[in-house]
Symmetry: C2
DNA sequence: TAGTTTTGTGTAATCGATTACATTAATTTT
DNA sequence: AAAATTAATGTAATCGATTACACAAAACTA
């Protein structure tokens, strides 16, 4: 119903030009105090609201950033996004969210759409399948749009990243299992073309080697991150002639599956088999048998990602900065791996 | 680095005007096939990308919708947002997310910011504290921006809503507890100024009255939706002279707290006390003692909300439609309330 | 008092698209 | 062959802001 009020309407009302109105609203000292006050009052009275679209077109700053994640309804990504939103909100930035659903074409499509929408930056976690599709990323950089990876990164020159030390997290978790007396630790892995899963695998492996235990590649198995796959693979592990006495999983969901299967086999946790997961999903804490896991502080990761973006925005355009922030994981030891004192 | 290519650049390259380029790119039949092809080829060669900001300013359509929720890192809201995104993506709409953190001022601020950013619609779940701050909502409507509430709604004329039947969900859950033989059912409620909590309370009450059981207001207690509050309140309930034999909670988190406290008291679930929650949070399914809960199909709710928005957008502006979609809740019965057959 | 500086506004271009309204050239009609 | 259509493109306004440059009036300088 109500027509939109523009600075031209205010100008007409006061018999001045839109330029003066614009300056007055921006508190330009060249405009007399009297006029400034008059304009401010009239704007308020007419219920004027600045059209950010026009401003964005003129200034080249949309005050929108794009955030791309594989999926939204995961505690981890939702928390990261919360962190991003809360950190950017005070600066007046809005967050546009996109999901790739681990689909390469969707990822490309989303990047293009965000660029066309003139976002001021793109913060993303790459999808499972985007390994070596650097073309889109190059397009972002060529447009001089800040690009920052969080958690799942691709290694590209000039791109800042915010990650956690997955190697370290896996190393500590495995060391902890070893400290509990476990000698044959299986690993439920995931697609190791993704750096985070490769690093978790490497951290696990290093911990075993550093402890003088035998490393057995045959009990490292790739799983999809869900309960069912965790059960299925654990079943096959338990049926081995030489079953493991601990399971370190790169996902809490597969760890949960493992726990269910181990119990179904009549074995006791942690007495017979210890289990540790990764991500510190909310449910790991809630279980009656709480699950040991590695916390990734997603909220912090989101805030840090946003901070790196803000820094980047404020630099001279000529300077190419590349910041690699690595957060420390926190091992949360719970009942699923903590044996009674002996 | 690379300058942005506009239709003017293409025009100059081909010695035609920008108007012709614009028409050609939009496949206007008035432009000869030859020219259209030529423009398309040149645009591709020069790597032209349409500036959606300019388009938005000219057309008045930004193809952005704002989604406002109390918080992002809750499974429920994250799933709703996923549903919204997946439904709107095919139409070319982008989703801008905002959190109110149950802060009235933030809610108002977010609404204003979205309106100034010229979003094409606002889809929101009101915050705990926004009861009767209809002023902002009116501002949205006055600007003719479609406003749709999901889950937590305010009752405003001309606003479409997508909710679940909370009364029904609570009614069924309570009836189920009664069917298990429970005679004294406590209710962990929440701020009943919020319609969803009021309705859950009313559904619970009605089920008790319909079953000829005694309704006792003293065992209806308001709780904050977290585990600690659930424990605290359950403790006080168990210490009553006449403790309940079942707890129906309006939140899964308080239900979990209740379960922990009941176990701590040495009582058995479901034999001594049955427990049911609300929301079907992922962890309710994962627990060793899985928790009975009411599913709200958040993904569906998100998709439905988006569909209502699309419908609204496509109507003539003159027509004020008001659509009230009510989804059916699904009672998921699990071990926390299912007694063995007697 | 003539010249210079300052103060406050206006003029018009710009951001990058779309589109109503000409206008010219080509084709068809009579 | 003149008149009427049609086809293809150009001109210029528009969306709603910002801002470099211009300019008049007032204030200051010498």
């Amino acid at each position: 119903m109500s027509k939109k009020i523009t600075i031209y309407d205010i100008a007409k009302e006061l018999n001045i030009t839109a330029a003066t109105v614009s300056r007055a609203l921006n508190n330009n000292p060249k405009i007399s105090k009297v006029t400034r006050q008059l304009v401010a009052d009239t704007a308020a009275k007419m219920n004027y609201k600045q059209n950010k679209l026009a401003l964005a077109l003129k200034s080249g700053k949309s005050y929108n950033v794009g955030v791309i994640v594989p999926r939204l309804d995961s505690n981890f990504f939702a928390s990261v996004i919360r962190g991003i939103e809360e950190e950017l909100h005070p600066y007046g930035y809005h967050v546009i969210i996109c999901q790739t659903r681990d689909d390469k074409n969707l990822e490309i499509e989303n990047i293009d759409a965000l660029l066309n929408a003139q976002v001021d930056g793109i913060l993303m976690s790459i999808s499972n399948v985007s390994t070596e599709q650097n073309e889109s990323f190059e397009r972002i950089l060529k447009k001089n749009v800040p690009l920052i990876f969080f958690d799942r990164k691709a290694n590209i020159d000039g791109v800042s990243t915010v990650t956690i030390n997955d190697f370290q997290g896996a190393y500590e978790a495995t060391k902890h299992l070893i400290a509990q007396g476990c000698k044959r630790i299986a690993h439920l892995s995931n697609n190791r073309l993704i750096e985070i899963f490769r690093d978790r695998y490497l951290g696990y492996k290093q911990a075993i080697l550093d402890s003088g235990l035998e490393f057995d590649e045959s009990i490292v198995i790739e799983a999809i991150s869900n309960v069912e796959d965790g059960r299925k693979i654990t079943k096959s592990l338990l049926e081995l002639d030489n079953p493991p006495d601990a399971i370190f999983s790169s996902s809490d969901f597969t760890a949960l599956g493992a726990i269910q299967e181990i119990k179904a086999h009549g074995l006791k946790i942690p007495e017979d088999i210890c289990v540790a997961g990764f991500a510190n999903e909310p449910f790991t804490k809630f279980m009656e048998l709480a699950i040991t896991s590695v916390d990734q502080s997603p909220l912090e990761m989101g805030k840090m990602t946003a901070k790196v973006f803000i820094e980047q925005i404020n630099k001279k355009e000529i300077v190419k900065i590349e910041k690699k922030v690595v957060l420390n994981p926190k091992l949360i030891i719970r009942e699923s791996s903590l044996k009674k004192q002996h």
